[in-house]
């Protein structure tokens, strides 16, 4: 009897999961495919400001610090082997391949993702989405689509910014402070970083993360139970689910992209 109950619970859990995945998939299709219009462009711009520009500060500041720490840690290890010349290479590769896409995506989920969920959730709770439907406007197109596209475009740009300031932060600590030869910092970097292999793959990663994080954020907002408790839960879920998804997908993508490079 007890075992039967558990099996039933397992089955119900699986079905619930599949159902919500299905709903999320249909949701993504319905909202992302729409005819661009002049008005849609304005709505998108607005969200670009909200999602992208407003996240710039936290992303850039974090990037500088990560680059500086990376440089400091790398130097203390490399100097033991007399290989501090390789500092630039180490900083650039760790940032481009791994840290920028992942850390920027995590910060983005915390800063912009949770705000998207809360905003859409609040619009749902105050019946704004329903009233939009009653006016005869599809909220998927009007509310969700611009946010989805803004997130999708913003995160890769933010990731690029993160890498650039991170490399600069590494330069500050490594070259200006610890005294690594400047030419070695840049030339070591240039000889080991491939534009398509490293910069390109890093960008692909961040595109995937952008899609996943924004998708989770807007879907959680759209699908939540419209009470204050529901909103706070959905916001938490956005951050938790997107963080897990980013880290898990990062492993998969890294295996596919850099697995054979050794």
């Amino acid at each position: 009897m007890n075992l039967g109950h558990r099996i039933t619970a397992l089955g119900r859990g699986t079905l619930d999961l599949l159902e919500s995945l299905g709903r999320a998939g249909i949701f993504l299709l319905q909202s992302s495919i729409s005819i661009p219009s002049r008005e849609g462009w304005h709505l998108w711009l607005r969200q670009m400001h909200f999602v992208g520009v407003m996240s710039l500060a936290i992303i850039l500041v974090s990037g500088v610090f990560i680059g500086m720490v990376l440089s400091l840690q790398g130097y203390t290890i490399l100097v033991d082997f007399g290989a501090e010349e390789a500092l630039g290479q180490m900083v650039a590769l760790s940032l481009l391949r791994e840290l920028s896409p992942v850390v920027a995506a995590l910060l983005f989920a915390g800063r912009a993702g949770s705000a998207l969920t809360a905003e859409i959730g609040l619009m749902k709770a105050t019946e704004q989405l329903t009233s939009m439907e009653m006016i005869g406007v599809d909220p998927l197109r009007r509310v969700v689509a611009p946010r989805l596209w803004a997130g999708f475009v913003s995160l890769p740009l933010l990731t690029v910014g993160f890498s650039v300031v991170g490399i600069w932060g590494g330069y500050l600590v490594g070259v200006e402070w610890l005294g690594v030869f400047e030419g070695a910092y840049w030339s070591g970097m240039q000889s080991s970083v491939g534009f398509l292999d490293d910069v390109g793959n890093g960008l692909i990663k961040s595109l995937v993360f952008a899609l996943v994080v924004t998708w989770i954020a807007v879907f959680q907002g759209y699908d939540l139970i419209p009470t204050s408790e529901g909103i706070s839960r959905a916001t938490t879920r956005t951050v938790v689910y997107s963080s897990l998804a980013v880290l898990g997908l990062d492993f998969v993508l890294t295996t596919l992209m850099f697995g054979e490079l050794g």
Binding site: H42, L45, R46, M48, H49, G52, V53, L56, F81, G82, A83, E85, A86, Q89, A92, L96, P156, L157, L158, V160, G161, S163, V164, I167, W186, S187, G188, M189, Q190, S191, S192, V193, G194, F195, D198, V199
Partner: protein
């Protein structure tokens, strides 16, 4: 209206900064500007052992960077490594025929690169030629083995 203009301006700046950042990553960080960007010509060199040489490793002449390794493949006939070099087009027809290519290491454990040193032959190398005189990579184990066997002989 005013606020929306400011916002559009901000988003425009944001996009521009992202694109500039990408350009920076391309030119300054992955070094697309030097080597691949300018005119190049190709030389080949066969090595018995290339050690840790990889595509994009630098090629220097008298310590100055003049190009990079474009490709490394195994010569199925002689079982040697055939390395393709991309060099600045300015050097085409300037390098003597007896130029040597050696695989060197920067620092004790640093990256490996190819160092060219010129000879005195009046004839010069043209695009597609092969550098005959090469010096393979230094492999630490072989070095130690040599050293030990010398000791034993003495």
């Amino acid at each position: 209206m005013k606020r929306s203009k400011m916002m559009e301006f901000g988003v425009g700046l944001f996009m521009l900064a992202g694109i500039l950042g990408l350009v920076f990553l391309g030119l300054r960080v992955s070094g697309l500007g030097n080597g691949v960007g300018g005119e190049t010509f190709t030389l080949y060199a066969d090595f018995a052992n290339i050690g840790g040489l990889k595509p994009r490793s630098k090629v220097t002449l008298a310590g100055v960077r003049v190009g990079q390794v474009a490709n490394v493949e195994l010569d199925q006939e002689w079982f040697e490594a055939r390395v393709t070099l991309e060099l600045d087009a300015d050097l085409e027809g300037q390098l003597p025929r007896d130029t040597t290519a050696a695989i060197l290491t920067s620092g004790l454990l640093g990256e490996q690169y190819i160092g060219l040193s010129v000879g005195g032959d009046p004839e010069t190398l043209a695009g597609g030629d092969t550098i005959r005189d090469t010096q393979q990579a230094l492999v630490l184990e072989e070095l130690i083995q040599q050293f030990v066997s010398n000791m034993v002989r003495e």
